[in-house]
Subunit: 146 residues, 2 copies
DNA sequence: CATATATTGACATTATATTGTCATAATGTC
DNA sequence: GACATTATGACAATATAATGTCAATATATG
């Protein structure tokens, strides 16, 4: 294969890129709409989702979610101001405190989750598990090759 | 179905959302790396790609690509400063001038295209046309339901 | 034709993200 | 233990993006 031309699959990949840009934008818009009644945004919600299971330091949130460390820092401080998360001591690291949901934050997240469930059930309706699994696997694998 | 729980497909969709955020971020990073030697960015490149076939007004670029009108305006003016695009008169609309590639812009885009082809061939290698088509169809269809 | 509505680009303001630098702390190496 | 390397969070400066407003233009409706 001389690469002065797209292979068939490369052309499809290129289409996927453009579609991903659009899809990402729409997801953020939809997420902002879902979270607005709670005074949140997609970005803030994502931080909360990252620590719902267990509190972790900001840098780890960034790594897990593919976000910048500084962006996470900023969002985290916004959430602190809103009283939705707090820092808790980290025995393993003196500076890298763990970001944890407060009770208020946990309540908000649970409520938001209900809205998200209704919404995602509606959006996912009509799609088969197989095709969704394929899509997930493909974008995950493509992402890992970047 | 009572929607206090995710359906199986909704849970997959939710995973797709998070993966899309990461994927999108990596695509932009990769695009920035590809375009950096040309003094460009993913965002600027995208604008150029939108007008490579035919010159169109800024608002139409925004619609086609799922971008904000004002963001496109900003990027377009950056490209004008770089001499890569220019406005051309639009017989159909006195204010909405068409954004067109200059010769210099066309050259740059062609060169960039070569790099992109080599790169996308490498990334797409190992994926089947079928699975890529499914992924593309799914994210496109999901996006339309938002 | 007249008028209402929608689109478009400019502009200003605010919000958000990125980048670079730094001090502190942790980890790995010798 | 001593040292270099890496990770982390704070901070500042800059760049980029989002929002709201406006005038000009185009389009739809009557």
């Amino acid at each position: 294969m001389i690469d002065t031309n797209h292979t068939h699959t490369a052309a499809l990949f290129t289409e996927i890129i453009l579609e991903t840009f659009k899809f990402n934008g729409r997801l953020i818009t939809a997420g902002d709409a879902l979270t607005k009644p709670f005074g949140l945004t997609s970005a803030l919600w994502q931080i909360m989702g990252a620590i719902k299971e267990a509190p972790i330091p900001m840098a780890q949130i960034a790594r897990n979610m593919g976000l910048s460390r500084q962006g996470v820092r900023r969002s985290t401080h916004v959430l602190i101001d809103k009283g939705l998360v707090r820092f808790e001591e980290n025995p393993d690291h003196k500076r890298a405190k763990r970001v944890a949901l407060t009770d208020k934050g946990r309540d908000a997240f649970r409520q938001l989750e209900k809205t998200q469930i209704t919404w995602s059930n509606a959006v996912a309706k009509g799609f088969s598990g197989e095709e969704l699994k394929t899509a997930l696997r493909v974008i995950r694998a493509l992402g890992e090759k970047l």
